[in-house]
Symmetry: none
DNA sequence: CCAGGTTTGTCAAAGGTTTGTCAAGGGTCT
DNA sequence: AGACCCTTGACAAACCTTTGACAAACCTGG
């Protein structure tokens, strides 16, 4: 239980705004002492932090408040990341299967315009994180299988991957706005090149207001070390998309933990299990992964 | 739900145009607050982004709007390709030196927002091709030197490169549509990874209306062979950004010429000289290079 | 190639709404 | 006593609204 001053410093919202938000939108309704003093709990702080993030990133306070109240935005309490926008709405969308099919067909025909059109329609289905988790990543997996099967040539696979990369880049760029605080460095270890998942995660994190530095593919371990030490850095997030990337990833992670004990070292991707003791394994949902990184204090 | 201002920044469409497009074409019909303020959702943003892309690439807004409304956003060819902006004096623009300096400083501080701001201002100086030729590529060269000198850490260099990649990706995406006819495949040979120049060229070519298939970095020679044979292809353009890429490039080029004698095999980049007999060496200006590829019949 | 009409981006005016912040007047806590 | 908290009311800046207009760019017929 915190006083209003303490709540202000923890949530980053000025005291006056805290009262105004309560009066005008009812984002939180803190308990009161007998004498009427406000008492905020951890859930309230979390909701307020979420609201500040949304407002900082351009939402109107009124819209942010209703989003939080309706559970649209993640106002999850504490380190238990939950209550995320459910993927089901997109998964069960009758269009997704057809859309994946359209994407594969376009890739197989190396028809760039058709690939872009499929992505257009996909991203129109819902919010970025949901679309990525529920449609894009599964579709890319299918694309990989189609390539392995020979149904899609490597050229079509490349053309499609780069089209996806462009879309993600656009989303990343669009998520700019105010990103403050210590940096979150996102990238792949030495030798790793499949960066779409990393970029999608970086975008989700940036959309949450984190100051993401995306350093992309194939960053040597010593560069990682210097990266997190040279500037105030909150976390380093490594993507481990293939089995071959595990060795470099675990070495990089171990070195980071040793050389910069204060920071959070996290890893995501299909092969990110058991890299090194102390490394946080991120869930495969980019929305959940981004929430986890935001909430976890190293 | 976003306010009109936020929707504008996310879709890249000016606020005034947002209202005009709604009034005149009804591309989107945002929900309203009780007091009449517009509220845009993610689907609206996606539709607006698509519309902007089409308009940027030469469609008339009216045509783009009906195309989007009917769901076939990227099908019909637009009006005639407009005359391309002529190279003007970006070089002599007093701002470029300062802008390069700003970019280097932002890279050295690993300040993503500052990097993006420098790129913003750079691309505001003139037409895409001119800015790339006269400012961006020289600035990237300087960035490379700064990295070699140790003035900029590899992390700053990566962060800046990826920011540039995002900008180029946006430009490539914006140049969509009106691309019919035999494909032009653009990419890098096996082992080559410095793709910014290739992507800039691919964008310039697409802006001229060529059906560019961008296949990116590190494409093995046999994939190149299959790429140009599987579909009607007019040209293959290889980027050779470093000395190390020469061997793979010349082998790939020679194989392409042998296996597909009908097509144009061209190469650009600092180390693209004398790759193999029959390979067209592209000038370093992406505008000139794109024009050359368009005009040359293999 | 030129005149006349249409399309389209952008702007301004006039006026309402939202929101952060502050101040006044007064109570509570240590 | 001094630091902290309360409510209420207020205000300016930022933001939004519509309507109307205009110049540049584009198209079409002559």
């Amino acid at each position: 239980m915190y006083t209003i001053k303490e709540a202000s410093s923890r949530s980053g919202v000025p005291v006056a705004s805290l009262r105004a938000w309560e009066r005008r939108y009812g984002v939180v309704t803190p308990r009161r002492t007998e004498s009427g003093y406000r008492l905020y709990d951890d859930a309230a702080i979390a909701a307020l932090s979420t609201m500040r993030r949304l407002v900082d990133s351009g939402w109107s306070p009124a819209a942010a408040a209703t989003a939080i109240a309706s559970g649209q935005a993640t106002s999850e309490p504490g380190p238990t990341s939950a209550a995320l926008p459910q993927a089901s709405s997109v998964t069960t969308h009758p269009e997704t299967a057809a859309l994946t099919e359209a994407l594969l067909e376009a890739a197989s025909a190396v028809d760039v315009a058709a690939i872009e059109s499929a992505l257009d329609r996909g991203f129109a289905l819902g919010p970025f994180e949901t679309v990525v988790d529920a449609w894009l990543m599964p579709a890319l997996r299918e694309l990989g299988e189609a390539w392995a099967d020979g149904r899609v040539d490597v050229v079509g696979e490349h053309a499609a991957s780069y089209a996806v990369m462009r879309r993600l880049s656009q989303a990343f760029a669009a998520a700019a706005s105010l990103t403050r605080g210590p940096r979150v460095v996102v990238g792949l270890p030495s030798g790793a090149h499949h960066e779409l998942g990393a970029l999608a995660f970086a975008t989700a994190a940036r959309r949450r207001g984190l100051a993401v530095v995306y350093v992309g593919a194939d960053l040597p371990a010593d560069s990682w070390r210097r990266a997190v030490r040279a500037f105030p850095t909150r976390a380093a997030v490594l993507a481990v998309p293939t089995d071959d990337d595990r060795t470099a990833a675990s070495r990089t992670a171990a070195e980071l933990l040793e050389s910069s004990p204060g920071i959070l070292v996290a890893a995501g991707g299909d092969y990110a299990d058991d890299l090194a003791p102390g490394v946080v394994r991120l869930p495969s949902s980019i929305a959940q992964a981004a929430a986890l990184v935001e909430e976890t204090q190293a």
